[in-house]
Symmetry: none
Amino acid sequence: MLDTIRWTGSAVELLDQTQLPVRTVYVTISDQRQMHDAIRRLVVRGAPVIGVSAAFGAYLGIRNAANDSIKQRLSEVCDYLGTSRPTAVNLSWALKRIKDVGGRADARDVKRVVLGECLKMLEEDAQCCRAIGEHGAAMLRSLRRGGDNDEPLNVLTHCNAGSCVAVRWGTALAPIYVGIEQGLRFHVYADETRPLMQGSRITAYELQQNDVPVTVLCDNMAASLMDRGKLDCVIVGADRIAANGDVANKIGTLGVAILARHFHIPFFVAAPTSTIDLATATGADIPIEHRDAKEVTCPLGAVQAAPDGVDVFNPAFDVTPAQMVGAIITEKGVIRPPYLEALKRSLSS
Amino acid sequence: MLDTIRWTGSAVELLDQTQLPVRTVYVTISDQRQMHDAIRRLVVRGAPVIGVSAAFGAYLGIRNAANDSIKQRLSEVCDYLGTSRPTAVNLSWALKRIKDVGGRADARDVKRVVLGECLKMLEEDAQCCRAIGEHGAAMLRSLRRGGDNDEPLNVLTHCNAGSCVAVRWGTALAPIYVGIEQGLRFHVYADETRPLMQGSRITAYELQQNDVPVTVLCDNMAASLMDRGKLDCVIVGADRIAANGDVANKIGTLGVAILARHFHIPFFVAAPTSTIDLATATGADIPIEHRDAKEVTCPLGAVQAAPDGVDVFNPAFDVTPAQMVGAIITEKGVIRPPYLEALKRSLSS
């Protein structure tokens, strides 16, 4: 499988996602400045892998430090890396974890302990996604009815919640990657996902690299695809899941969910339990970021597609009501409605 | 208002809609091959003006023919032009009309008679769109309830069925242009309409040119907009209306209709009765053109947005079932369900 991040023993190699889908290029990161730049420029993107990358960035920033200044140095490097994507919660979470672990260690052990923690985070993330994949694949297998086992399962996904957001496997695509290992067959339909086109640029790319049959469509073609009876289910990721099961995810997810309901196609969300936020009662409490008009009026910065000065509606996320979500696939298992109790239980288990 | 098509006395000038919204350029069309190319490349687009354009194309194709072969020539030229956009029923309707008129004329009168018919169609189209606007504006006025007359009516439209699809006024936007003349106020939300972005490129452009407040959104943002309670109704055009009221229109229309139904927002179609095809029993009988993958993978020909060689689903149209259509606004009046009898009546009146 395509690696998003690799530790060579002396440096980090990151798949440069700004070059996708045209070129597959790995960037070698040897110090904290290069890592800061890579995170800031979106060479690496997606909450899980940003956290792990930042942790390695912290290690690279202290590996040449003298023992008598290493804790001070660790603290400075972590603060510095935290400014690379100031709003990414996972980034500050990962850096705090590294700072805490290093801070508790004996000065002469800090380097070893921090590197160990980085490698542990790398492994944990892969295991979490793998578990999402295992639970999801088992559920998808149950969608296969009667004698049509030779037909691939046709799955629609929106945006990119695949291996490129994580160390490996990803979230929404993990059930597909793991299912294939287990003998299931898939055909994935990837919504291009305007405005930033993560679906056609990244999802289609990683599936193609991993030999999974994939078809790209514009977001507004999903209804036609469903109307033709082509889809067995929809699987998307999540940016935040409220306590009642409402799901904030990339703009367009709500529309896909409504269409899926209309056509009686199961709609699933796959996400780690770290995405569940019990402090957020419902989707109405999730702030929705509105982004630059240029993302809409000038697709991928390449061509003017709307008249100068036109007003634009460009919310980055929408909220899909819990009652449209057939199941939430997590690393701890598949959570079914009613969600309020089930989500609470999954976090305390 | 900007002209979409002009007859100079010796050639047709078409507003090159592939250049909008950046440049206002007219293409001079002097023969039938150039017209075929212009229709196929969407230099000119939208059922009404395609019909008028094709008629002029037929004239351009026979104007140098000798009298003894002119009827044979007319027939060939019409057949040839009919292949430029196979799904557009208005195209074959206009060409049949030209062929019939020319066929009935004395051989030496064919050129004069055909040109006269083209000019008549130009005038008829403007009058037809005006009538759609009058009937539509009256209907929209009835959506205004109680004391909120100071608020603009918020209308979502998909693709472009404005003045740029017709000689003047257009179809879906005609009720808005005419309504404004009559003192109604509007805010139009324009779906960008991937892959060719006629919504952001053309609808937003012409509304802005005509001082109508307009907001552009990506197709996948319509659900979020509806969820916020922003919309009073949806109005779209039609490429073909089957005898039972099923509506073929630009890809994405079906999705908008399903979302509108979900959010209890009225969904209207505005189209001339020439779009109604009683010979097509239902939408299932309407052939759906599939277009080049590059339209999806390389937005507006400007930037690679998907990996090389990826499979693409790119239907140009979809079919909205009659039961989702609240009313069909035509030049003869507003047609309400049940459509089977009402459409038949409207064509025979």
